[in-house]
Symmetry: C2
């Protein structure tokens, strides 16, 4: 490859980025607000020469990662979606958790959320909402802050200490939105969450709501996702919800192959592959 940023102009900030990463960075330019992009936008956003962007976009399109609209703009393709649906932490947990989410929704008739941690944020894997429920700020596939949401706090509380430190060390950068919590308080908060096996967060912003979240464990015993319900503040005493959410989360954990507590006294024959071959 030519001097990506060596000799000529280009941005010295991104000199020798591998081709693969550059191609992926094109995909990363698509967001909720920007679902369709034309070539020059893509090139500009990804900081690539138009000719380079064109070549890559063509390869991506040819393969199906992108699709070209009639107006010349590009959108994320079904082929990519198809493969992404094999993501264990994406559609994977969703598939298994869905029936339980539905039960929880059936019983409460409030928002039910399922999220996993991805880097310094939580990603919303699925959401069930009645059309008449209160508004929620997040969409499926979108990201939510770790420290200020119930699911986020649960995921954070059960994260390996080293990663946790890394996150707590962060200044206020990123999503330091409304309810920014000082690292000190957060540390204490996370301890409480772990203690209680659930997080309860009161919110006033989009509307008056209370979220209750609990951890979901995988076969390995570590927390792989978080389950949450969001109820209008006026509704039931929020804390009454804690056992319900925890129980549902435990049920999902069991479906994922988690063997209850670490008291490995006896074991079932083996939950085996559990191919979730249906859905």
């Amino acid at each position: 490859m030519a001097g990506a940023g060596s000799a000529a102009g280009s941005v010295p900030g991104v000199p020798g980025q591998p081709v693969v990463v550059r191609a992926l960075s094109l995909l990363a330019q698509f967001t909720e607000q920007r679902r369709a992009l034309n070539l020059s936008e893509l090139a500009r956003l990804a900081d690539l020469a138009p000719a380079t962007a064109l070549r890559m976009v063509r390869h991506l399109t040819e393969w199906g990662a992108l699709e070209k609209l009639e107006d010349g703009r590009y959108v994320v393709g079904v082929r990519l979606w198809e493969i992404a649906s094999l993501s264990p932490r994406g559609h994977g947990v969703r598939q298994i958790a869905l029936p339980y989410l539905e039960d929880l929704y059936e019983v409460t008739r409030h928002h039910v959320l399922l999220a996993v941690r991805e880097g310094h944020e939580a990603v919303l894997i699925d959401r069930l909402s009645s059309r008449t429920a209160t508004e929620v700020a997040y969409r499926v596939g979108g990201r939510m802050p770790l420290s200020t949401t119930a699911v986020g706090q649960v995921l954070l509380a059960y994260t390996a200490p080293d990663v946790q430190e890394e996150l707590l060390a962060q200044p206020d950068g990123e999503g330091g939105g409304p309810g920014r919590v000082p690292a000190k308080d957060l540390r204490a908060l996370l301890a409480e969450v772990k203690q209680a096996g659930a997080a309860v967060v009161r919110r006033t912003h989009p509307s008056q709501t209370v979220s209750v979240a609990a951890p979901i464990r995988g076969a390995g015993g570590d927390v792989v996702a978080a389950l949450s319900i969001v109820v209008p503040d006026a509704a039931t005493q929020a804390h009454e919800m804690v056992p319900l959410v925890r129980a549902s989360a435990l049920a999902i954990s069991r479906s994922l192959g988690h063997q209850g507590k670490a008291s490995g006294a006896w074991r079932h024959p083996a939950p085996a592959a559990r191919g979730n071959s249906s859905a």
Copy 2:
């Protein structure tokens, strides 16, 4: 790059495949049955030198397209899932169609399917199924043949003639499974489907069922997806379902911005972006 297939051994069949495509072909090795692959499997399946596969897999992992398990195997990452959730023809239609699918499900209590065409097959975008309903063969994110399924026939019937010809010209290759239909009969069948605005397929294989599918149109007026219900053969006269499915499909089409028939006499102010910013 070195002579991918020029001088030395290697497979002469895939000589100068672009890097991007090769990287993507690694992703393409993941399937329903093979959700976790180790490096050598990936290298073998994608026909790459181990060293090359390693380098690429590292880039993919670094970026989040893949995730490395503790046992060293790789799985599709959440980051990819996240971006794929922006696919208009994937999660996009799903988001908009979901409420209507739910209504249809509520009323019938049978399987409800949503699918789009991708190349020579249909991809199942979403499925609602009661736990007690009859079995279905396909999973969300999976592929189904065009010519032998109700959704497939609908998608095929409304495909641009040139693509249609290309598909009909095919020998028996691909999914030529149980109910292989001769090209001639299929042509007539598709005409009927277009005439009726729906496809009805009777099936005996996994179980005795009847599928009824209808086309969903996008803002441009062309068919972008197909809606279907699958009922046990014993149930209601299948043909009674046709109006129901067609009506649901029309409702979804409207939500997608389709302006009814092509009688472009008057127009609404503009359905605008319809950001489906919720979900």
